[in-house]
Amino acid sequence: MSEENQNPDLTDDEKRLFADLMPEDLKEIMDSGFNRRHFLKLMSIGGASVLAANLLGAEQVLARPLATEQAAATAAIENGVKLSFNINGASRSLTVDSRMTLLDTVRERLQLTGSKKGCDHGQCGACTVIIDGQRVLSCLTLAATCEGKKVTTIEGLANNNQLHPMQEAFIKHDGFQCGYCTPGQICSAVALLGEAKKGDASYVTSNIKQTGSAQQLSEDEIRERMSGNICRCGAYPNIVAAIMEVHSGKPVDQHFNFAG
């Protein structure tokens, strides 16, 4: 698909601008969820900070093709399991070592390195992905078990070329520092929204017997529900603010206090 087809409303000026910024990866960036309008909006509000980010992005995206399969030497696969599943909207078939986790499969075989390995033992949440609508840990999921499943990683959250509102809110509220736990946090937060809509309970829910309707979550509810995602940088308050904003649909204030 040509760029023109995909982004028919790109002006010549903008095209030149983009071409300047990110020569060959424009299509890639457009493909992978940076909506043009959104992009321009962020550029103008965020003091255009995002633009610079994309300058950085250009280099990296260039260096890294998306979701192409890294052919594993067949000799290297033991107890091979044939596998077809849907990843971020695309079907993929491959043969994996029966021992291979979903995390290692997306990272080492499908070049989707957004999902992170923080512990490999279910103890940190950095590897959180969404399978069939549920947030799960890809480090404790054997790839072999994913036959026929629909897997969404951080790379697949943007929809119709638009950042997911949770991604936007994380930027606005500075819901990260090093960014390593962030893909897991965001996948987890996105699934949390769905759980709240269904009226799911948590350990801090005051009346567990009251079932049914969608829940307006308190800060403590969000904290408890996000406690499976460790952030060693300690961005928790900002993560809670970002989630609260998306969950409530109302802007959450940011305070920068100076005195003296």
Partner: protein
């Protein structure tokens, strides 16, 4: 992780057949415990039989029109589905609470009801293959006995093993008099009470429970609930979430006015199995539901505890947790 053959089971009988056919095979359910231990080289199966693709329904009412009858939890039901099921939330709220007190949202979305009962101890000596551990390597000794045993048992341990069962869900199930349904290759269905199912370590700590290889857990049966109005699951831990219990207590009260007509108390974090606090229960039955009575019962229960060097605090903490769970059961009715 050792190489293993992976099979995706298509029917329950075929899974059981496959399992029985190889002593070194294991069932793969949520995998949250099994894979963890395989990566540590503690579990070394030659074959995994994946049962997650088998059809299941999380919770089934056993009622035939009658208002009060039990429920059946499918072994393959996910912990999160079970905890959020309307029947469980309304009639067995302490079970919902107990499940939700465990692990994290992601893990509860993966973990199954059957797997939860079968999860193994978190004893660090068990997890570290360089350490002695009778449970992992019978006869090698117990690293924890003279070691760092802060998280370990105060009831029912033997000098072969002082580990605790880590499950929260199982504590509530114990309080609720749940029964485990198991099926073997011959197609036999067994219905085991928790007493019949779980074990104390004794001389064979390598056995966590009384299942035989080839047994598949198909479900967990709960009798009709008498405790929906007054129950609570209290969990004390080193951080506020995503941590195993130091001590936990599932408490249920059935009241006749102020009088306790029936009571259940079970503890987690104190023994090799979910620990029914029978002494406390016996003391409370027929008494008035007061904080003083709760405290006295808690004290009596913990009087029999035998702690180790680093877990003496569990006696006082256990007393407090029992009293707290009962008080909350009385006041908040969860």
């Amino acid at each position: 992780m050792r190489p293993f053959k992976y099979t995706r089971a298509t029917t329950l009988p075929s899974a059981i057949k496959e399992l029985s056919g190889n002593a070194q095979s294991r069932i793969l359910a949520g995998g949250t415990n099994l894979l963890d231990l395989m990566k540590e080289d503690v579990e070394r199966p030659e074959a995994l039989i994946d049962i997650t693709h088998l059809p299941h329904s999380a919770v089934k009412s056993l009622s035939q029109g009658a208002a009060k009858s039990g429920v059946l939890l499918d072994a393959l039901g996910k912990n999160s589905e079970t905890a959020n099921h309307l029947l469980i939330r309304s009639q067995y709220p302490m079970l919902s609470q107990a499940i939700l007190a465990g692990a994290s949202a992601q893990i509860r979305n993966m973990a199954t009801n059957g797997g939860n009962l079968l999860q193994r101890t978190r004893c660090p000596y068990f997890y570290d293959v360089a350490m002695p551990c009778n449970k992992r390597t019978p006869g090698s000794g117990c690293g924890a006995l003279e070691g760092f045993n802060r998280m370990h048992a105060v009831f029912g341990w033997s000098d072969k093993c002082i580990a605790v069962h880590p499950s929260d869900m199982a504590v509530a199930l114990a309080a609720l008099d749940a029964k485990v349904l198991a099926q073997n290759e011959a197609g036999q269905q067994r219905r085991l009470t928790f007493d019949e199912f779980f074990r104390l370590p004794g001389d064979a700590p390598e056995k966590d429970n009384n299942l035989q290889h080839g047994d598949l857990i198909t479900g967990i049966e709960l009798p009709a609930s008498n405790f929906a109005d007054h129950s609570y699951y209290a969990k004390v831990r080193d951080r506020s979430s995503y941590a195993f219990a130091l001590v936990s207590v599932a408490a249920g009260l059935q009241l006749n006015g102020k009088q306790i007509s029936d009571v259940r108390v079970a503890m987690g974090g104190v023994a090799h199995k979910p620990w029914r606090a029978l002494t406390a229960e016996k003391m409370l039955k027929g008494k008035e539901a007061t904080e003083a009575n709760f405290k006295a019962a808690a004290k009596a229960e913990m009087a029999a505890a035998k702690p180790h060097e680093y877990n003496k605090f569990k006696i006082e903490l256990g007393e407090r947790a029992i009293a707290l769970a009962l008080t909350n059961a009385l006041n908040y009715g969860s």
